[in-house]
Subunit: 343 residues, 4 copies
């Protein structure tokens, strides 16, 4: 029998996770649960997903709005084997008590703290350590991209230390009427920023320091890195190291992919839902090695990058697939990752 997965929080990440689950052949979407009753949840209805109300208040407002409900959150948890919680920052931490009480396995997203689950997940780095666990946290978009790239360098024996400057998109497109920054830049208060330690929650061996700044665009993040290598190396070795990851796509400035918006359009052209880019798009021709120092830049689709990781985390926690490699391959195929992206 296929494992039934509950999705709590049908937002930017949640709606993508729901679609991704529905696309797998070894698991099943039990339903989605939220408090919203406007246009945002109506798509779930149209897609035929079972919709559950997260609270009693929501039950009223959703019914008033004509949403046909399959039940409440308890009902959904009752029919599911595992729950993926994609609620906004801090709310999941509250839901965790419910999950624990019911003894249902759960996956949180990167907005929550490592301590809440005691395990942080990044498929290519530590899939095995998540096998059959009760819970894990899929690290955030920025941290996921850092782990993919640095893990590739580390596996190739090239990684000494990494110093990154992270340009973070200010808000997501669907919320850009509610808040965001205008004609300015907003550095994060603290140097180092939290992404370095966050990456260490998955891989404590990393020597990593990050600085971060919010920039006035909504498309995706952009990272610049200066990496000290363990030795002098040439560009070819570094490129080959990155190619060992199936979730890094090497792009070229010379192909006209010169900016976040051109990359976004390419993925829309490819027919990806929402133009999603699950991969880290790293510029191959821009990348530079000078002696034992490596410089590169890449783009992270903050709305999409954790979707495949979440699917893998489901497989790890439920134990339905013991091999990281096989899970990643399965997920990649289902989402069209690095396969030209044609679904």
């Amino acid at each position: 029998m296929k494992k039934k997965i509950a999705l709590i929080g049908y937002g930017v990440i949640g709606k993508r996770v729901a679609d991704a689950i529905a696309r797998q052949d070894d698991m099943e979407l039990a339903g989605v649960c939220d408090v919203i009753s406007d246009w945002r949840i109506q798509t779930a209805v149209k897609k035929g997903y079972s919709v559950y109300a997260a609270t009693e208040d929501a039950q009223d407002s959703m019914q008033k709005a004509g949403i046909s409900l399959a039940g409440n959150m308890a009902d959904l948890l009752g029919v599911a084997h595992l729950v993926v919680d994609c609620t906004p920052k801090k709310i999941a931490a509250q839901n965790v008590e419910i999950y624990k009480e019911r003894g249902i396995k759960f996956i949180l997203q990167g907005g929550e703290k490592h301590e809440t689950t005691g395990h942080s997940f990044s498929a290519e780095n530590n899939y095995a350590s998540a096998l059959n666990r009760d819970s894990t946290r899929v690290v955030s978009c920025n941290t996921t991209s850092i782990l993919r790239t640095l893990t590739a360098l580390k596996k190739a024996g090239l990684l000494q230390s990494a110093r990154g400057t992270l340009l973070r998109r200010a808000t997501d497109p669907w919320e850009s009427h509610l808040g965001g920054i205008m004609n300015t830049l907003v550095p994060e208060k603290d140097i180092p920023s939290h992404q370095g330690p966050d990456a260490q929650s998955v891989d404590s061996e990393l020597d990593i320091v990050t600085m971060a700044v919010k920039v006035p665009q909504t498309l995706s993040h952009l990272h610049y890195w200066n990496v000290r290598l363990t030795r002098k190396a040439d560009k070819k070795e570094v490129i080959e190291a990155f190619q060992t990851s199936t979730r890094i796509t090497l792009i070229n400035y010379s192909d006209g992919l010169v900016s976040n918006n051109t990359i976004k359009e390419k993925y829309l052209d490819m027919g990806r839902p929402w133009g999603d880019m699950y991969e880290v798009a790293l510029w191959q021709d821009m990348l530079k090695v000078e002696g034992d120092e490596l410089y590169y830049a890449y783009v992270v689709d903050n709305q999409a990058i954790v979707i495949p990781e979440t699917i893998d985390a489901i497989r790890a926690l439920t134990g339905m697939e013991e091999s990281a490699e096989k899970s990643i391959k399965k997920t990649n195929k289902s989402l069209g990752i690095n396969n030209g992206g044609q679904l």
Copy 2:
């Protein structure tokens, strides 16, 4: 035998027209023709379209870039019954000489002048007048939206005169790294702006004046209208008039669709390619009638709105469908228009 359609100019409009043609069962995409050799044309290759080079220079650079070519522009025209020209402003005017010389029917886009074809097209207004013509011009995105809405009011006998203020998106997303405006507004130099007379190129009876301004966003246009009605009317009558168009979608602010970005996200949610909105999205609850004056606002997806019109224009010029109603219905169905948008 299905009519073979050539597509010249694989840009923002061209790539959408190509896909739309490929989706029809009564016509066939003969191929696409352009001069670009970067990521933009690579999607055409992946989609399996026959790609032709528009110039000799392009032939070289495209081949160097590894694009497998089916031939040059003359070759494409040689196998096609009709050509849709979506090249950038002013270039189509040059191509027209070639089309005329070869005696091939052609459709231009709204950037070109009315005089170039002597006929301007808007499906719900003047389909019949385009039947079996040699050429026509599908009017621009702004003008198409004006004609859809005012034609609906006119058919209901309600339209006296219309005064509109048009907020135009500054540039398209895929080109927003090349140019655009930042933290400012740029009024068009002349009042009235050209959209009023442009609408009159389709329907000379319209009493219409427009003012236009470029705004710093890339998503879509936003129009505000003040219409003098032929008589006092109530809101219900006006709404019913708009509902006679199958290409106007009534939306509600109270559903959370409060801005251009939320509307865009809804269409991405719906699975539309590129999140395309072929419809005019007009706010029903915001609309106000006071005596014989009507006020309303709507959003126009400038990248998508002319796509269905272009498909209808193909049917009209080739004479493959004599009824406007039937062509519109066919097109709408193929693109998921006002059908919930689920393709």
Copy 3:
């Protein structure tokens, strides 16, 4: 003895009002009062203004931050003849109770309701009606611009009815890191928007309807108007009507002033503090008259336009100047209005 004026709320408007009061020779700035202790209030200290703490909490935090305080709000009211309240929306309404209790005259800004004072002020329209009143409300930036322009047309006997579309800047530059809209447009929920009725709170005879939309820039508002005249007129008459206002500046697109940013730079070039434009900048060459219909557009510096109005309101309420014309002239001279702006 010069009248002593207290300034409560040292924000975007308040800091400008303080400077403007300090520039007059017939009144005196008693001091400024606020709750902030960061860089924003430090300029007041450097300018040598007496600084007062608005609350007890603020007193602590301001002293901790090293701000030398002259006292608290009661102290400031104790030494002032009139108070100008520029606190954020809704807070002034609470302060009003204090002002009334103390029997001190007060002026509110446009974020407050007309009912709070029972009088709304626009210098060129109704100065006389404010003479020796206990309180008034200087109407908002948008409404001030509407009243200046429509009053000019009305005085010339040309105004029948006015229909406007208002493009509102999303947030002020100094707060643009805290919130604002990004790559979208946000229409106001209701048509008509509130600015029409607000203008009628000063001049109930106006036949006016407005629609408003928030746009993603921080510089200034832009208004588009369609005015029905009482009769056919020519452009010269209309221009002459606008020239009767000393607070409308006619600009020309042909001079390169083609957008909000170029206008802003011109006022910075002129040496105006903050590049402030107290005038309505109305495009003369863009303005069009067709029969009995008039079309025009202008730019409103939302941070600056109410400053001269507030100075005039002080003169009216204190009765220190009975003639509107003389007060306006005095204010204009002190601020460099329509005098080339060279202070």
Copy 4:
């Protein structure tokens, strides 16, 4: 007799240099020369500067626009001892031939190549080497900021190597209607970017690598640095090193100066013309030292930072002041630099 200085190119930099020259007591502005005839040059007229036409065409158009001309470019060079050329990129390189032919000393801006003059200038680093030279190039805004900060660290014996990520404003405010980027980020094509080598044109000993990216705002640049120190150090030492420069201002995030827009507003509040910040604004509380690694961020006002450098370069080339320290002090005083900025 005071040295007479000619200013060619009355743009973003030129108009500021003109005002700065006019503010010195040991030199004189001979006049300004340009080709523009619109609002941009009208301020020069109002300020009483002698205006010269750069070309014959310009002479016609400027006279037609009513600009009273003092002569042409040759006339201006005829009355000047030194020329500061602030024309757009690449144009100065052409003017250089004229300057050489006439044997007039000249200063170019950072858009030109080092080779054009054979000397690049940064006041605190190499004033002495420019003494009595025929020409020099004031390095660009980014490079000037780099030299100020790294020179301070170098003088303190702390600088080993520096790796920087530079976020560049996309365009200047006055031109933001003509072009710029929208809702995207545009990395520079090459890593390393040119600013590292450019800094080495002033100080060849620097071990420096930069990466640069254009961001969608118009206010100022933002730099992030990771510096390897010559030894372990503490924060106090580093701060003291930066304090040896009179053109670095240490700011604090805790004072509410958390972003480029708040910093801009502070300088507008201070009454600086155009809100100009001649200083590098470096966050003191954000700065971090970990072992022998230093991390910090600062903001660069690209329109203003080279103005004091240009004044110093005038003194160096004319030999009117032999001491760098004295020239810098004089310039700083005249512009209000690090003196609270109150002019």
